[in-house]
Amino acid sequence: MPDVNTLIEVALIIVKVVIVSMILFSLPLPLTWLERKIAGHIQLRLGPFRVGPHGVLQPLADMIKLMFKEDITPYKADKWLFRLSPIVAMVPAFAVYATIPFGNTVTVPFINKEISLHIADMNVGILYVLAIGGITVYGIMLGGWASNSKYALLGGIRASAQMVSYEIALTFSCVGVVMIANSLSLVDIVHTQKGAILGILPNWNIFYQPLGFIIFLIAALAETNRIPFDLPEDEGTLAAGYHVEYSGMRFAFFMLTEYLAMVTVSVLSVILFFGGWNSPPLVPETLNNLIPPIFWFIGKVAVFIYFFMWLRFTLPRYRYDQLMTIGWKILLPLSLLNILITGLLLI
C-alpha cells in the first residue's frame, strides 16, 4: 500500500493529463472558426456569420455534421491500416504535450498544494518533443498508403520526403537554443530566458538566435504541412492529398492532428525563442503580480497562431523541387552555420 503523498501525486498527474487532453481536444473548434474568420477578413469577406453571434457556433455545427457523416472505407483499401492511421497520426500530437510547460508553479486553493503547470519535466524534453512530433508522419504515410488511391499515395510520399528533409533543419535550429541554455529540459530553457538585456529588451533567445529562429519557423511550417509547404495535401494537384479518401470522424482526426501540430510549433517557438511564460521587462511590477504567467504564455502562443494563419492566406504554395531546394541547400547549411556561430560566441 503506497503512502498518501504518492497517491496524491498520481491523482494530480491524472487530473493534469485529463485537463490538458480535454483542452487539446476542444482547441480545434475555436481554431477552425478563427482560421475561417481570418481568411474571410483578409479576403474582405466576413467569414462564418450565421450560426450564433459572429458565427462562433459554426465549428459545433461542423462537428455534428462530421459525426453523422458516413464513414466510407474505399473498396480494396487496406482496412486495418486505413482505420489505424488517423489514430497513429493523432496520438503523437497529444503525447507531445506531456512535457510542455505552460507556466510556473501555481498554488491551488482548497488543497493548498503547489502544482507545476507541466505534466512531466523531462531532462530530455526538447528531444522528446521533436522525436514524438516526428511520429505523426507515420499516420499520414500509412493513411496515404492504405487508401488505395493515387492521390493519397502521392500525398503520403510527399509528406514523408518533406518531413525527412525538414526534421533535420528543425532539430539543428533547436541546438543553438540548447547550447545557450545548457539543458535539454524545456523548463530550464524557459528559466534561462528570465530578465532583460540592457533593461529594455527581454532576455529572450530570439535576440541571441535570430537566424536559428527563422530556420525554426520555416522548418516548423513545413513540419505542420501548412501553406506555403502544404504539398502533402496540395489541393491544386492532389485533390486533398493523403486524406482524400477519408470522411467523417476519421477525417476530423486528421484535421485535429493538423491543428494540434500548428499549436505545438507555436508553443515550441514561444518556449524556445520567446521566453515561455516570462513577461516582457517593461511591464510594471504591480501589473505583473496581477497577471498570472500563463497569460503571457497563452498570449504569445495566440500571436503565433495568428501569424501562421495570416501566412496561410498570404503566400502561395511552393513547387516540389523548390521545397527540396529550400530544405537541403539553404536551411540545412544555414542551421549548421548557426550552430557554428553560437559555439564560437559561447567560447
Binding site: H41, I42, R45, W310, T314
Partner: protein, 187 residues
C-alpha cells in the same frame, strides 16, 4: 540587392503587410437580409404604386393606356363612372371616371416602366420595393388596394445607400424593413 531582398524577406514582408491591411479594413460583404439593406436609386423600377394627389384623390382615371402599352399585358383595368353617389363627399378620383378593378400580374410583369411613361396623370409609378417573393401565387397579383397603400420609402428619398434594416418573416412572406435614419455608403 536581390540577395539582400531575399535575406531580409522583403517580398514576404510586403505581402504580409498588404494582407494585414486588408485584414483590419472594412469588409465588402453586405449583411443583406439580416442587418443591412441597399436602398435603390430613385430611378429604380420596382413594385408599382398608384398615387394620390395632395387632397387624397386617386390620380388614376382608368384610361387604360397602361394596359394597352404593357408588352406582357399584365395590367387589367376595368373603369367605372364615379358620379351620383353623394355630391357632398369628396370624390374618389380626380375625374368622374375611376378604376373599378386595377390589377397587375407581377409574375408576368417585366418592370420595363412603359406604364409609367404612358400614364397621362402620373398615377402609376414604379416604386422601389424589390422583395416580392412570397409563399402562394395569390400575392403575385397586386390589386388596387395594395397598389394604393403608401410605401416605406418615400418618393423624394434619395437612394443608393446601405441602411440598417430589420428582417421580418411571417406567413405572408419575408420583408426587410429599412431604417432610413442611418445611411452608409457601400464602397
Amino acid at each position: 540587392m536581390n540577395l539582400l531582398k531575399k535575406i531580409f524577406f522583403i517580398d514576404f514582408i510586403k505581402g504580409l503587410s498588404l494582407t494585414f491591411k486588408y485584414n483590419v479594413s472594412r469588409t465588402i460583404t453586405m449583411r443583406y437580409p439580416d442587418e443591412e439593406k441597399w436602398l435603390p436609386y430613385q430611378r429604380f423600377r420596382g413594385l408599382h404604386t398608384l398615387n394620390r394627389d395632395s387632397q387624397g384623390r386617386e390620380l388614376c382615371v382608368a384610361c387604360e393606356l397602361c394596359a394597352k402599352v404593357c408588352p406582357t399585358q399584365c395590367i387589367t383595368v376595368i373603369p367605372m363612372e364615379d358620379v351620383g353617389t353623394d355630391l357632398k363627399s369628396v370624390p374618389r378620383g380626380i375625374s368622374d371616371r375611376i378604376a373599378k378593378v386595377y390589377e397587375i400580374n407581377l409574375v408576368r410583369c417585366l418592370f420595363c416602366g412603359f406604364c409609367e411613361d404612358a400614364c397621362p396623370t402620373t398615377a402609376i409609378r414604379m416604386g422601389r420595393d424589390y422583395e416580392l417573393a412570397c409563399f402562394t401565387l395569390d400575392c403575385a397579383i397586386a390589386d388596387k388596394k395594395k397598389l394604393l397603400t403608401p410605401r416605406d420609402i418615400p418618393a423624394e428619398f434619395e437612394g443608393g445607400f446601405v441602411v440598417k434594416a430589420k428582417f421580418i418573416r411571417n406567413d405572408e412572406g419575408i420583408k426587410v424593413k429599412p431604417d432610413l435614419s442611418k445611411k452608409k455608403r457601400w464602397w
